[in-house]
């Protein structure tokens, strides 16, 4: 079910915007569009196939943990 939804979404985005860019010869836009679409497909496949990856927010916890611990000690 999930994979069908993903395919429909990807096909829909390509069908709506690519002809427009092709007609106006927006080559650079096409590259950025493809890159973002590939990134979206990548995350979509991970979600649909239930592949377990480390949480994308892990870096936020990693960076802000010292600050958070310091503030918690100071203000409680």
């Amino acid at each position: 079910m999930g994979i069908i939804v993903l395919i429909v979404l990807v096909a829909g985005s390509i069908a709506i915007d690519v002809p427009l860019m092709w007609r106006k010869k927006l080559i650079k836009e096409m590259w950025v569009f493809s890159f973002l679409l590939l990134l979206g497909i990548f995350f979509g496949v991970i979600k649909v196939m239930h592949i377990s990856i480390p949480n994308p927010l892990g870096w936020m916890i990693f960076i802000y943990k010292p600050v958070a611990d310091m503030v918690n000690v100071w203000l409680t």
Binding site: F43, M60, A68
Partner: protein, 379 residues
């Protein structure tokens, strides 16, 4: 005045009025805070959370004043262009990418709240992506139509938001008890300050996104006033929400409940006739959250195309929407995980970009200006 250089043909040609700016700031400040912020503030500040909200509002007004100062220094540039101008090519590109990622992460977080709320309270059993796809399609439509349409949408929604909020607040007055707010400051000021960190970061520093839209305001000289007014009005609504939550539910129930203001709307019963109005607060929340997600989404797409010198930003909306829908369930396995991350780490992430980045921009710009004056004086 610092010269803004060659101003290329602007990607966005729309203009918004100062009144629309005020309304958008108010709606963004209310945003998701009206449902999500009461439990996380009362968790630390207990019955004194209303003092935290006042402290947060003071911080927010100062921050908003700072944003308008930054915008005055570079009146024709958006935040991404300002960063590139101030920090040069390499450092500027790096910082711009980080800022764009911040916009994306805030959008993902807000979308996560939409999904959780709709599935847990209104449509149990619906798959979360179904809600998200419908929501993001409307956001994409608004973004493609441009800033003018978003401004007018805000104007149309505002009477509705105010009337719904007033009905909810007035109808619950019989169930308030002032004793739930006592004793005031029994544990000293420290827990109140800790609570005000959550509220100031999550509610009052998010208007940093308006640095992306200030060049499109039609009367630049009135920006400061309308920004401050918008933040003040939003702050009053948040203050009332928190105060009502404490007065009706008390600090314990407010902390344990995921959505206290939704729970309060459930308790409304005027004469046994006026009941079951919680769908109204859901509607109110959907309207304000739509504005918040749209503005952040727009800022991401517009900023990315300005960074890469694209001619057209609307074509990037659909793939970005796909990324958002796919990324939203991935950032947190469940609500309590999201809540822990939000309470402990997310707030500092927002402070980094909402407070420190504009402060550094302002400092560097002031320093450069003083330096150039000095050089001129010597020559």
């Amino acid at each position: 005045m610092i010269k803004t250089g060659v101003n290329k043909a602007m990607l966005e040609k729309g203009k918004i009025s100062t009144r629309q700016l005020t309304i958008l700031v108010t709606l963004l400040t209310i945003g998701d805070s009206i449902l999500v912020i009461p439990p996380s503030t009362t968790h630390y500040a207990r019955q004194n959370a209303w003092i935290s909200s006042l402290i947060g509002m003071a911080v927010g007004l100062l921050a908003i004043y700072m944003y308008s100062k930054v915008a005055k220094l570079y009146p024709k540039l958006t935040l991404i262009q300002i960063i590139q101008k101030v920090f040069g090519k390499w450092l500027g590109t790096l910082l711009s990418l980080l800022t764009l990622m911040y916009f994306l992460v805030v959008t993902v977080g807000s979308m996560r709240e939409v999904g959780d709320f709709v599935t847990s309270e209104m449509l149990p059993g619906t798959p979360i992506p179904a809600t998200l796809i419908l929501f993001i399609l409307i956001v994409i439509m608004a973004t493609r139509l441009g800033i003018e349409v978003i401004g007018r949408t805000g104007e149309i929604f505002t009477p509705m938001v105010i009337i719904l909020f007033l009905i909810l607040t007035v109808a619950i007055i019989p169930q308030m008890e002032i004793v739930r707010m006592l004793p005031i400051l029994e544990d000293g000021i420290k827990p109140v300050l800790r609570g005000s960190i959550s509220i100031s970061a999550y509610t009052f520093l998010e208007p940093v996104v308006f640095l992306m839209f200030l060049p499109y305001v039609n009367q630049p000289q009135k920006i400061t006033k309308s920004l401050l007014l918008g933040c003040f009005l939003g702050g009053i609504i948040i203050f009332l929400t928190i105060a009502v939550s404490i007065l009706v539910l008390g600090p314990d129930l407010t902390t344990r409940d995921i959505y206290p203001s939704y729970n309060i709307a459930r308790r409304i019963s005027v004469g046994g006739i006026f009941e079951r109005v919680e769908a109204m607060i859901a509607l109110l929340w959907m309207l304000t959250l739509f504005i918040e997600v749209t503005l952040y989404f727009y800022a991401f797409v517009l900023g990315l195309s300005q960074l890469l010198n694209l001619k057209e930003f609307r074509v990037l909306t659909l793939p970005t929407g796909l990324i958002l829908v796919a990324l939203t369930p991935l950032i947190a396995p469940n609500y309590s995980y999201y809540n822990t991350v939000f309470d402990n780490y997310w707030v500092y992430y927002v402070i980094t970009f909402g407070l420190f980045l504009p402060l550094v921009l302002l400092g560097v710009a002031m320093f450069r200006r003083a330096l150039s004056k000095d050089l001129k004086f010597r020559n």
